[in-house]
Point group: C2
C-alpha cells in the first residue's frame, strides 16, 4: 500500500460518490484501513487532492509536436476534455487548488511551448493563454455544474401538465432565456445557465478563440504597452 494506490482508490471513489462526499474516513474505509493510516502516504487532504489532479493529468495525451500550433493546441485541449469528462469531479478539484503543483505547471508549460514553437511572440502567447483560461483544461466555465456533486436531488419527472405550467412560468419570467434555450437542442433538458457544456458548444467557443488567435498572430499583434 503506497501513495499511488491511495490516489488511485481516491480517484475511483470520487468517480462513484463525487468529490464532496469524498472524506478521508470514507476513503480509508474503502481501502480497508483506519483513517489515520492514510496520513503515512499523504500529507493532508489538500495533498490528496493535488495527487488526484496529478493522476488526471497523466491521462491527458502528450503534446503532438509535428503539426501546426493550432492543431496541436486543439488536440491537446480536446484530449484534456475527454480525460476530465471521465472524472466529473476533476474540474472542481482543479479549480479548488490554491497553488499549482509541478505537474500542473508542466502541463501549462507544454501549452506555452506549443504557442512559442508556432512562432507566437511571448507577449501574444501570454495573452492567448489567458484568453483560453479554463478551456486549456477542456472545460467551459460551467455555472451550476453539479460536477462531481451527484446529490440525490433529481426530482421525479413530474406530470406533463405540471411540466407545461412550469414552462409557461419560465417563459413569463425569463422570456429571453427560454427563447434561446428552445432554439437549440441540448443533451439534457436544461436551460442556459445550468451546466450544459455540450461538446458542440465547447468546440464552438474553442474555435472562435483559435480563429481570433490566428488573426492576431498573422497581423503581428502586440500589446504595445
Amino acid at each position: 500500500m503506497n501513495r499511488e494506490r491511495v490516489l488511485e482508490a481516491a480517484v475511483t471513489l470520487a468517480d462513484e460518490i463525487g468529490i464532496d462526499a469524498l472524506s478521508m474516513r470514507r476513503l480509508a474505509q474503502e481501502v480497508g484501513v483506519v483513517p489515520m493510516a492514510l496520513y503515512k502516504h499523504v500529507a493532508d487532504k489538500e495533498d490528496l487532492l493535488d495527487g488526484m489532479v496529478e493522476v488526471i493529468i497523466r491521462e491527458i495525451d502528450p503534446p503532438v509536436l509535428d503539426s501546426c500550433w493550432r492543431d496541436a493546441i486543439r488536440h491537446r485541449v480536446l484530449s484534456a476534455r475527454s480525460a476530465l469528462h471521465h472524472h466529473r469531479w476533476a474540474r472542481q478539484a482543479i479549480e479548488s487548488r490554491s497553488k499549482p503543483t509541478p505537474s500542473v505547471l508542466e502541463y501549462q508549460d507544454s501549452f506555452a511551448g506549443i504557442f512559442l514553437a508556432g512562432g507566437f511572440t511571448p507577449d501574444l502567447a501570454h495573452h492567448v493563454m489567458h484568453a483560453l483560461g479554463g478551456r486549456m483544461w477542456g472545460f467551459t466555465q460551467e455555472l451550476f455544474g453539479g460536477s462531481g456533486n451527484p446529490k440525490g436531488n433529481a426530482q421525479p419527472p413530474a406530470s406533463p401538465d405540471a411540466q407545461a405550467e412550469m414552462f409557461a412560468h419560465m417563459a413569463r419570467l425569463y422570456p429571453n432565456i427560454v427563447t434561446i434555450a428552445t432554439a437549440t437542442p441540448h443533451d439534457d433538458d436544461s436551460v442556459v445557465g445550468r451546466g450544459c457544456d455540450d461538446q458542440y458548444e465547447f468546440e464552438f467557443a474553442l474555435d472562435l478563440l483559435l480563429d481570433g488567435f490566428e488573426r492576431l498572430h498573422r497581423r503581428r499583434w502586440t500589446s504595445e504597452r
Copy 2:
C-alpha cells in the same frame, strides 16, 4: 434583525475572512446571536450563499438599453467585474451554487435580451452566451485563484539570492512559462497559472470574443444542425 441584515453581515464578514472561513457559527457570533438563531432567517447554509450571491448581483449596474448590443454587453460585463472585484469570494460562491436562483436567471435573461435585441438569432445568441461563459460574470477562469481564501500562507519575501535561485530553478523546469511570464509585466509577481486576471488580460479576451461574435453576426452564421 431580518434576512437582509444577516446577508449583509455575511457579505462583509466574507470580505474580511474569506468564504472558506465563513461558518454559520462565526457569522452568528458576528451578528451577536446564537448559531441556531440564523436558521430563522435562512433555510440552511446553501440558502445563505444563494442570498449572498443575490446581494452581489444587486450591485451590478442594470443593463443599458439605448446603445448597440456590443457596448451594452461590454458595459454590463465590466460592471459585473467591478462588483465582483470588491468581493473576492464571489466568484467561488457563484460557481459553487448547484441551482440557479431567480435573480441569477434574471441576470442571465437580461444578457440574452441584449443579444436578441441586437438582432442575434436565438441560435447564435445561445452559442455566444456559452462562449462567454463565466466572463458574463466578469471573471476569467482563474486557476489557483486563492479568491476569498486569504490564508496566512504568504511566506516572507525571501532573500534576493534565494529568489534568484528560485527563478533559475523555474526557468530550468518550465522555460516556456518563464519566457511568457517575463514578457509582460503583472500586477503581482506571479507566473501564468496563478490567478493573474488583470484587467488588461480580461478585456483582451472579452474583446477577442466580441470581435468573433460580431463577425459571425454579420455573416449571418447559423449552426446548421
